[in-house]
C-alpha cells in the first residue's frame, strides 16, 4: 500500500508541477511575443518562478520516497 501511495503521489506531483511550469512557459512566451524587447526580464522571472515550483515538486518527491522507506 505504501508503494502504491508513493507512486500515485509522485504521479500527482508530476501532473501538478508540469501544469505549473507549463503555465509559466505559456505566460512567458505570450508576453515575449507581445513585448519582445522585455524578453530578458521575462526570461529571468520565468526561470525564477519555475524554480520555486521545482522546489515544491522535489519536496513532494522526497516525501514520496519517505513513504516508501518508512511506510
Amino acid at each position: 500500500m505504501g508503494l502504491l501511495a508513493a507512486g500515485i503521489g509522485a504521479g500527482i506531483v508530476a501532473i501538478a508541477a508540469g501544469l505549473g511550469i507549463g503555465m509559466i512557459g505559456k505566460a512567458a512566451t505570450e508576453s515575449i511575443a507581445r513585448q519582445p524587447e522585455a524578453s530578458g526580464d521575462i526570461r529571468g522571472a520565468m526561470l525564477l518562478t519555475s524554480v520555486f515550483i521545482e522546489g515544491v515538486a522535489l519536496f513532494c518527491a522526497v516525501i514520496c520516497a519517505l513513504i516508501i522507506f518508512l511506510g
Binding site: 529571468g44 524554480v51 522535489l58 522526497v62 522507506f69
Partner: protein, 356 residues
Amino acid sequence: MVQTLRLLFLTLLFLSVSTPNTLAADPSGAEEEPVIDVMGTVLDHDYLKTPFGKIYLPRIFYWEDASGQTHLNAYGSTKKAEQSELFELAESGAIVPSGGGHILIDMSITSHLAFVWFSVIIVMIVTFIVAGKYKRGVGKETEPKGAFQNIFEILFEFIRDHVAKDNIPDHKYKRYVPYLFAVFTSIALMNLFGLLPWAATATADLTVTATLAAISFFVIQFSGTKDHWAHVFWFPGVPGWSRIILTPVEILGLFTKPFALAIRLFANMLSGKMMIIAILGLIFIFADLFGPVGGYGMAGFLAVPLTAAIYFLKAFVALLQAYVFTILTAVFIGMAAEDHEHDEEGYHVEHVAEAE
C-alpha cells in the same frame, strides 16, 4: 529485486544525511568488487579514486572511550586506524572504537570534502591571479588580456549585474557580490567535477548542500533590516488576530527557504547520477534476460547514446543549478535587505510627492 532497490534507496537517503563516519569506510571483508558498484558512485568514501588506484584520506576522530574519557586521534587512513587497535570496523562498515565507547565527532576528510576543497582552492587561485592582473592595471586601463581574464570578466559581470544588482537594493548590492560570485563558481565547479571520471560530485551529498544553504541562511538573516524582522514577527497592516497564524508561518518561512535550496541542489545532482546508473543498469538487466546479444544491443543502441545525451543535460543542469542557487540566495537577501518603502501606500505617496 524490489527489495534490493528499496534497501539501496533507503541506505542512500539516510546515509547521505548521517555523518561520514557511518559510510566512509569500506567493509574490509568485501574484497571482491561487485559487477556494478551502484552505491560507490554516489556515496562518500574515505579514499580518492585515481586512474592508478585509490588514495586513502586521513581519518580524524574525537571519541569517547568506555571509561568516559575523550581523545583526539588522527590516522593516515582507515587501515592505519585499524592497525592502531583502538578502532575496528563494524559489520555495517562503520568504524567504531574497539574497546567500547563511541565516536563523538568524526572529522575525517572524505572524498566529497576533498572535492569541496579542490573547487574552493581552484576558485581562490583563479580569483587571486585575475585580481593581481587588475591590480597591475590590465583590464582597468587597457583591455582585458587573454581568454582566461575575458571569461572571468564575463562571469563576474554576469553575477554582478544580472544576479546581484537586479535583486538586491541598489545601495547594498556591492557587499554581496563577492559572496554570490564565490557561491556560483564553487558550486558550478563542484557540479562539473561530477562529470569527470573518477571524480565525486560533492553536491550530490546532502551534508555539503546543507552546509552551503546554512551559510546562505546566515547571510540572509544578517542582512535583514528592521522591516524584515517586523514582517516576520509583527506583520504590519493586518487584523491583530491573524498574526497568530502569520507569525509562525513567517518564522517557518525563514527556514524553509534555505532548506529548499539544499534539497533542490542535492536532488538535482543526485538524480542525474541515478539516471545514468539506471540506464547503464539496463545493459545488465537485458544481458540477464536475453543473453549477451541483448546486453550488447542495449548498450550499443540505447544505453550508451542515451547516457551521452544525459551527460550533456547534466552539464547544463550543473551550471543551471549553480545559477539557481546563487540567484535564489540573491533574491532572498534582496527580500530581507529591502527597506519596505512601497509597502505602506501612504508613506509611498508622501515619499513620491516629496521627491517631486
